[in-house]
């Protein structure tokens, strides 16, 4: 099936992001990736968190779940584990994904479900109007750091590398084309993929846009994406700020492991791979 980006758009709902918000570009790139991959909208589940970025699920003509703050990833993981036949994505902001929801990432990475997580970093809490997020620079005077915060901002990509996430990339709202190809690769990747996207806020510019744009540079061609130690250096680099795929590896995915468990369980029980009925199960308890 060949589709157009139009198919994925929910006609009835107009995005209410501020004019100029970086999230528009991400929405557009995502729709283009779907088109490229000829996905059927009814076979996509999108789970989003809470924040400006959490509004994503409202704008797509897919099966969409706009849950609570910080829980997009475990929710998406459950959806994928239950329905391996669907394409499942999670989307959220830096507050949603790195602060309140940060504890879920390392465990999702260890389970490695075949989901794609778009983490939209604007270095601020946008929706709640300008409080510090885990990536807000230490000297920025946000509403909750009127005298400067002084905390060290987090470096998400190195962290994802040590979590063992099986696909890690960075994109930028300035470059929809590159973002589209990265998101496409991420969805194609079998396993948990994180696309970490700089998607600046026009209201609270905790990081200077212009500086961000200037510093951005693509990872060199032929970058060794399978070597986590080599990935760490560009992952830490601020100038240049690299975009592209930092790390990728092949690793058994959750759904397949669950299938294998089913096989093992049945073999242990019968010596063969046949399912049992509830009745048969209960007879074991006699």
């Amino acid at each position: 099936m060949k589709t157009t980006a139009q198919v994925y758009k929910k006609e009835a709902v107009k995005p209410i992001w501020c004019p100029g918000c970086g999230d528009y570009a991400v929405l557009s790139a995502l729709q283009k990736s779907f088109t490229t991959l000829s996905l059927k909208p009814e076979e996509i589940i999108i789970v989003s968190g809470i924040g400006c970025s959490g509004r994503f699920s409202h704008y797509l003509n897919t099966y969409s779940l706009h849950g609570t703050h910080g829980r997009a990833v475990p929710t998406a993981l459950g959806a994928k584990a239950a329905r391996p036949d669907l394409t499942v994505l999670a989307i959220g902001g830096d507050g949603d994904g790195l602060s309140i929801g940060g504890g879920h990432l390392s465990h999702a990475a260890r389970k490695n479900p075949d989901i794609t997580y778009l983490l939209l970093d604007n270095n601020i809490y946008g929706l709640t109007k300008g409080q510090a997020s885990p990536t807000t620079p230490g000297d920025y005077q946000s509403k909750t750091s009127p005298y400067g915060l002084g905390e060290e901002p987090m470096d998400p990509i190195p962290v994802f590398i040590t979590y063992g996430v099986s696909f890690i990339a960075r994109a930028h709202s300035f470059n929809v084309k590159e973002m589209t190809s990265i998101i496409t690769a991420a969805i194609k990747h079998r396993g948990m993929s994180i696309v970490y996207i700089h998607s600046p806020c026009v209201n609270y510019q905790a990081l200077s846009w212009d500086k961000l744009r200037e510093q951005t540079e693509k990872l060199p061609k032929g970058f060794p994406v399978k070597d986590k130690m080599k990935a760490l250096e560009p992952a830490y680099s601020k100038e240049p700020l690299y975009t592209g795929i930092f790390y990728r590896r092949t690793q058994p995915v959750l759904e397949d492991r669950l299938d294998r468990i089913t096989e093992t369980a049945r073999k242990n029980r019968h010596g063969k791979s046949i399912g049992m009925s509830a009745k048969e199960i209960m007879e074991d308890f006699r």
């Binding site: 709902v13 706009h66 929710t75």
Partner: protein, 614 residues
């Protein structure tokens, strides 16, 4: 039509308690005995207490055998086996006068109690050492002795032991058998008249299982069609998750251990959104972490089942002890107006059927359903009749809006979600405002069924809409489900025990049913008749049934295992009636004697209008 079943009298009622400390293996010893008994025509009921610590602390198993259905652990025991002094001190009060006391004389000083009981010293540790070189198998010495006394089928016992200890290795198994033998022979000179020999009893029909309440929940979930669980271990619920993890793959289902309870409930919400029937088991502390996601489930109307095996609280509290103190949380514990359903099984068998019912209600009405067990049901084992699987049916797809019936062993119907029809898909409204508040729910993959499920207030299509009128309309829609369910209840027959003209009424919930039944039975023997209502649905309450029950009552006793009378408070909020609280808050189940005492006291009140004077 009121049911007033004649209480069947039992010819046999025998209770054994085996007590020691954590690590002594008293539970294994007792469970093997119970397993043997369960293979006979006897009914079996076990109750377990164990310490929260890894080592030390009081641990016991109490096994009751009857030739009719058993409703409680009983009060006084016929035979007591104690492994150490603490076990003796804690348990001696419950030994019937004339009962048999087996004890290890090397470690137990029985003091001045000697005259009331039949004393049978058995040097458990010494005999274990003699037989195996170590003291680890002393529980097998005890088991051997008990096997002799109760005339066990030793072949069957060996098989059961082999199954249980297969993973411990040859050497350990051999030692167990040596210890068992030693105990068996040592008991030969004990004179105990039990009226029965296990080996001589008729074997049970093929249709009984010996399972715990927690296992009953896991099996109920499987029978209801649940094929997904995500959980996080917590005492005393863990065995539900462990059982599901072991069994679900066999029926094509999936189980995932998550990093915490928030992730667990998130995962089941995701899986339910994706189209599966889902469950997560937990206990109070974990349940509290799920609160935010429970409200989300109410708002996006996704069916989920949550089991809370209650333990004594608050906070970490008494993790291995029983209490009925999460009721108020279950009924009220959410921010905003979040409709949900709460069920409370009354025993092991009922746990199986209420679990099926929980799934049926969740799927039919698209709300979170909370199943409130407690440690005493969860850990108790009982003989449960195998349901008749030929009588298991799926609710007809053409009648998806049929109300949900209460499953019983002879008739279980399984309910699935209402899906949108092809016509409905043409202009699909996920949150259509219907008469019963429930709207068709599209399964991902269905073309045209795409929708947004958002925790923000939304309109019938699922589109965010925060206008005053829409909020009112959709709030009403969500609550209409509960109103509808309450109305459905009115069609059910009134079910309470006892004569409608009895002026003393007892209401209980959950695990206290058996103790109340027994207390009523004894009260009746003393000439005091009572009525007893025990709703399985805690919220929404079956209002008409309760109102009718309350009619012409002079004294209402509300029985519960907590400090503040949570159920009494709730009943008063709904029906405005005052009640006399029969409460226990000690981490232990209330006994029929404790209830009987209050009944008799109330029966003796002269000033009949003053029912709060206790």
């Amino acid at each position: 039509m009121r049911r007033n079943r004649p209480v069947k009298h039992s010819e046999l009622d025998f209770i054994i308690r085996i007590a020691g400390e954590g690590g002594d293996g008293v539970v294994s010893c007792g469970e093997l005995l119970a397993q043997m008994a369960a293979r006979t025509e006897f009914h079996v009921f076990t109750f377990i207490t164990y310490p929260a610590e890894m080592r030390g602390g009081y641990s016991m198993i109490q096994i009751r055998l009857r030739d009719i259905t058993i409703y409680s652990m009983g009060s006084m025991v016929d035979c007591l086996v104690v492994f150490n002094q603490q076990a003796f001190d804690n348990s001696i009060e419950v030994l019937k006068p004339g009962g048999v006391l087996l004890y290890d004389p090397a470690v137990v000083d029985i003091g001045k109690h000697d005259h009331e009981y039949m004393l049978e010293p058995i040097p458990l540790t010494m005999m274990a050492k003699e037989a195996t070189g170590g003291s680890l198998s002393k529980n097998m010495v005890a088991l051997g002795a008990l096997s002799y006394l109760f005339g066990a089928d030793m072949e069957m016992l060996e098989t059961l032991m082999n199954e249980r200890y297969a993973s411990k290795g040859e050497e350990a198994m051999a030692k167990n058998h040596l210890a068992l033998d030693a105990g068996y022979h040592a008991a030969a000179n004990i004179n105990l008249d039990t009226n029965f020999r296990l080996a001589d009893l008729k074997p049970a029909g093929e249709n009984y299982m010996l399972i715990s309440g927690n296992q009953a929940v896991a099996l109920g979930a499987i029978a209801a069609g649940c094929r997904f669980t995500a959980g996080y271990p917590i005492t005393p619920s863990t065995s539900i998750f462990e059982t599901l993890t072991r069994l679900l793959p066999l029926v094509g289902g999936r189980a995932i251990q998550m990093e915490d309870e928030i992730a667990a409930i998130s995962a089941i919400i995701g899986a339910s959104f994706a189209g599966e029937k889902v469950i997560t088991p937990t206990s109070g502390p974990g349940l509290q972490l799920m609160t935010e996601q429970l409200s989300l489930a109410s708002m996006i109307e996704v069916p989920i089942v949550i089991v809370d095996v209650q333990r004594a609280g608050p906070s970490t509290g008494l993790p291995t002890k029983t209490e009925q103190s999460d009721l108020k949380y279950a009924v009220y514990g959410a921010a905003g107006e979040s409709p949900r359903i709460t069920l409370a099984p009354t025993g092991v068998e009922d746990s199986f059927y209420q679990t099926i019912r929980a799934f049926n209600l969740a799927e039919r009405y698209q709300v979170p359903v909370l199943l409130l067990l407690d440690q005493s049901i969860g850990y108790r084992k009982a003989t449960v009749k195998m349901p008749d699987f030929d009588k298991l049916s799926l609710v007809d797809k053409s009648e998806p809006r049929k109300s949900v019936s209460i499953p019983k062993s002879s008739l279980i119907s399984i309910v699935n979600r209402i899906e949108p029809s092809t016509t409905e898909l043409e202009d699909y409204m996920r949150y259509l405002d219907t008469d019963d508040g429930t709207s068709p729910i599209a399964r991902p993959g269905t073309l045209g069924g795409q929708y947004l499920a958002t925790g923000l207030e939304h309109d019938e299509r699922g589109i965010a809409d925060q206008s005053p009128k829409n909020h009112l309309k959709m709030s009403k829609k969500r609550f209409r489900k509960l109103e509808f369910i309450t109305k459905q209840f009115e069609k059910n027959p009134i079910e309470f025990y006892g004569p409608p003209d009895a002026v003393i009424g007892l209401i209980g919930w959950g695990s206290t049913e058996g103790a109340i039944r027994e207390a009523r039975y004894h009260a009746e023997k003393e000439g005091v008749v009572t009525r007893h209502l025990h709703p399985h649905t805690i919220s929404p309450l079956p209002s008409r049934q309760i109102s009718l029950f309350l009619l012409r009552l002079k004294y209402l006793l509300i029985v519960e295992e907590n400090l503040t009378g949570q159920f009494a408070h709730y009943i008063k909020a709904k029906f405005g009636v005052k009640s006399i609280g029969v409460r226990k808050c000690e981490g232990m189940p209330i006994t029929s004697d404790e209830i009987l005492k209050v009944i008799m006291k109330v029966a003796g009140i002269d000033d009949e209008d003053n029912c709060t004077s206790l």
